[in-house]
């Protein structure tokens, strides 16, 4: 049992308390969802549970947190290693070892278990979680979903009683999310206490026992599963929550106005292969017109990122052509024409202020346009701030701003909603609509059904078929997609 007893916490470097007067009891074996807007204190809360607070992130705390009657504040993360296991958000940066087997063993080896015991524990993890296909592989060859399974396995081998998941689905596609849900189901059935922090929580709807809504560091609401799943759309949106039933969005879909001008991007017979490898992409044909928002869909490894790299001119196609307004484009011309908003904004910010960021790489004077764009993106107040000091959603808007100032006629988005709360998701969606209305061609790679339904006018499905074309998004397509994703 975990009890927060009137607990408050303030980070050393901040003035205000991040968590305020928290009272919360989590029973042993309970499956708990913690949710709320970005920056509400969810992550801080779980840092208190795995000992990172106060040991790693020093600060001032009031009240107490008890795990089975013992105060957690006195324990170091390493004392908690066999008791509380944490699976972090980004599967790429939580690995210590370079191969999977040793990563599974990492925790056990730290604990100083004998070789036999370590092998027993990993074997149990491998069998219980069905990881045998992943053994003895380099972690650099795994997909995000596979990495996450290994991360769970590594924690599982330590046999903690409490599992904490920090936005585990943020980097996963639908198949991997499904697998994650199955793993969680198994852990729940075995009686472990599970705490999940998540924005896109649809996959937990069968699993959760209680959901807690946190706002501004306070516990605002507590729901049972029935209450949580039957929240009306108005209340849900008021709390800034994503939907529990994304597939229901399909029915609400309204056809977007078609823009069939002659101008635009046309791709014919495109194929690509990495050196000596088999074709990653084959026979891809599509046309995009000004104002189209095209969703690029497909499972992990279907070649979505590769397609973006070709379209943005970072890779050269093997066969086929890419034309803009009828003129064939070289990779270099494509680079000048396009802008890519990456999933990880860290790679995209170079300047020392938001203002400088927007004007980087532009040779002529653009101060007027920068000001205009900053206002349009509600970033005016942050003009002088360093981009790295902004929140995730704000950073993303800064990179979109750079695309607007660059005047790119084609903008590509790679997973723009991963890790975003409802408000930020809606905001990105609106922004994309505005850009499209201004005549920009937009491509969006996304796994986020709710977002696709809200935003896209056409889809390009990279799964399976021989010849890949873009289709106008219709409720029928959405329905078949939702079946593929959610059943």
């Amino acid at each position: 049992m975990i009890t927060f007893d009137n607990f408050s916490f303030r980070y050393e470097e901040r003035d205000k308390f991040t968590l305020k007067d928290l009272n919360l009891t989590i029973q042993t074996g309970e499956f708990v969802l913690l949710t709320g807007r970005s920056g509400c204190g969810k992550t801080t809360l779980i840092r208190c549970l795995n000992g990172l607070i106060p040991h790693f992130y020093p600060g001032e705390s009031k009240g107490d947190i008890l795990l089975d009657g013992h105060s957690l504040l006195e324990l170091k993360p390493s004392d908690l290693a066999g008791k509380v296991g944490t699976v972090f958000q980004d599967p790429r940066s939580q690995f210590f070892m370079t191969d999977t087997t040793r990563e599974l063993a990492f925790g056990c080896e730290n604990m100083g278990y004998s070789r036999e015991e370590t092998v027993d524990r990993i074997a149990k993890a491998v069998l219980d979680l069905e990881l045998s296909d992943y053994l003895n592989r380099s972690i650099f060859d795994l997909s995000s979903g596979e990495k996450q399974q290994i991360a769970i396995g590594s924690v599982y081998a330590l046999l903690p009683k409490v599992y904490i998941f920090d936005e585990p689905s943020a980097n996963l596609d639908y198949a991997a999310t499904k697998r994650l849900a199955e793993t969680m189901k198994r852990l729940k059935a075995d009686g472990y206490t599970i705490i999940v922090v998540e924005h896109r929580f649809y996959y937990l709807r069968e699993l959760l026992d209680r959901a807690y809504l946190i706002q501004d560091g306070r516990l605002i609401q507590s729901f049972t599963r029935e209450q949580f799943c039957s929240l009306s759309d108005e209340t849900r949106i008021q709390y800034g929550l994503r939907t529990v039933y994304p597939e229901r969005e399909a029915a609400k879909y309204q056809l977007k106005p078609a823009h069939k001008s002659n101008d635009g991007l046309s791709v014919s017979n495109l194929s690509f292969a990495y050196k000596k490898g088999p074709d990653v992409l084959r026979n891809i044909n599509f046309e995009a017109h000004k104002g189209d928002v095209i969703g690029i869909l497909g499972h992990n490894g279907a070649g979505k990122t590769t397609l973006l790299s070709i379209m943005t001119g970072l890779l050269k196609e093997k066969t086929g052509s890419i034309r803009y307004n009828g003129k064939k484009l070289s990779p270099r011309q494509r680079r000048n024409l396009s802008y890519l908003v990456m999933q990880d904004t860290d790679y995209q910010l170079f300047g020392s202020s938001v203002e400088e960021e927007l004007s980087l790489g532009i040779e002529n004077d653009c101060s007027g346009k920068v000001t205009e764009t900053l206002e349009a993106l509600e970033l005016g107040a942050y003009r002088e701030c360093h981009p790295a000091s902004l929140s995730g959603g704000q950073k993303q808007r800064v990179t979109i701003g750079a695309a607007i100032v660059k005047d790119s006629p084609v903008i590509y988005f790679d997973e723009p909603t991963s890790g975003l709360d409802y408000d930020s998701m809606v905001r990105v969606s609106h922004l994309i609509e505005q850009l499209a209305a201004a005549g920009v061609i937009i491509f969006v790679v996304s796994h986020d059904f709710e977002f696709i339904t809200r935003t896209c006018s056409e889809v390009l499905q990279l799964d399976g078929q021989d010849s890949i074309k873009n289709q106008v998004l219709t409720p029928e397509i959405l329905l078949s997609l939702s079946k593929q994703y959610f059943n």
Partner: protein, 201 residues
């Protein structure tokens, strides 16, 4: 302030040393291919981009031992890729000296960071170039004599490697460190301090 290094500090040292090491390898390889004359100045050039990294590391982990650990790790790696044994020795000795130099005072300041880094680069230039050069000179002269190479050649080589060159190389190393430290601190103020990620007195 907790002055003891913890696991997080060790990880940051590991990550940033990895970066410095890669930068060092790339620059030294390029400069070696470009020719032997540029090769001897690689420690000075390496010190410039690495200054940015080192300043961030020192600002983020203002504790005793950072230089020593950093030097030791780089030394071990130099040993693995065939560096002359004097390089690790110089790196470790340099690290210890610099640690005491910065830690001589209670607070780490911009100035002490810069001085320590400059000295560290100078010692590295000595260990990486000047030391091995004078060591290898004997061996090489011996080999050339065996091969019946003209005496004037041998004299020429000795004069290049023993006269003013070592001084020039070390001074270049110190200068590289100073420039690197200066640029590093500018970058620190422009980006990391402004973004609120580190703070230095």
């Amino acid at each position: 302030m907790n002055k003891k290094l913890n696991a997080k500090d060790f990880i940051l040292i590991g990550v940033l040393t990895a970066l410095m090491w890669i930068i060092c390898m790339i620059i030294s390889t390029v400069m070696s291919i470009a020719g032997p004359v540029t090769n001897v100045f690689y420690p000075a050039v390496v010190a410039i981009p690495n200054g940015i990294v080192m300043m961030l590391l020192l600002a983020k982990v203002p504790k005793k031992g950072v230089f020593t650990i950093c030097g030791t790790i780089q030394g071990i790696l130099f040993l693995l890729v065939g560096g002359f044994w004097l390089i690790p020795v110089a790196l470790i000795v340099g690290g210890v000296i610099c640690d005491f130099l910065i830690m001589g005072r209670k607070e780490i300041t911009m100035k002490s960071m810069m001085i320590a880094y400059t000295i560290f680069s100078g010692i590295f230039a000595f260990g990486a170039i000047v030391g091995p050069m004078s060591f290898l000179q004997d061996a090489f002269v011996g080999a050339m004599e065996k091969n019946n190479i003209a005496q004037e050649y041998i004299d020429g080589m000795i004069s290049i490697t023993s006269g003013f060159m070592p001084v020039v190389i070390i001074v270049a190393g110190l200068l590289g460190g100073l420039i690197g430290g200066y640029i590093g601190q500018k970058a620190l103020k422009k980006h990391f301090i402004k973004a609120g990620l580190v703070s230095v007195k």
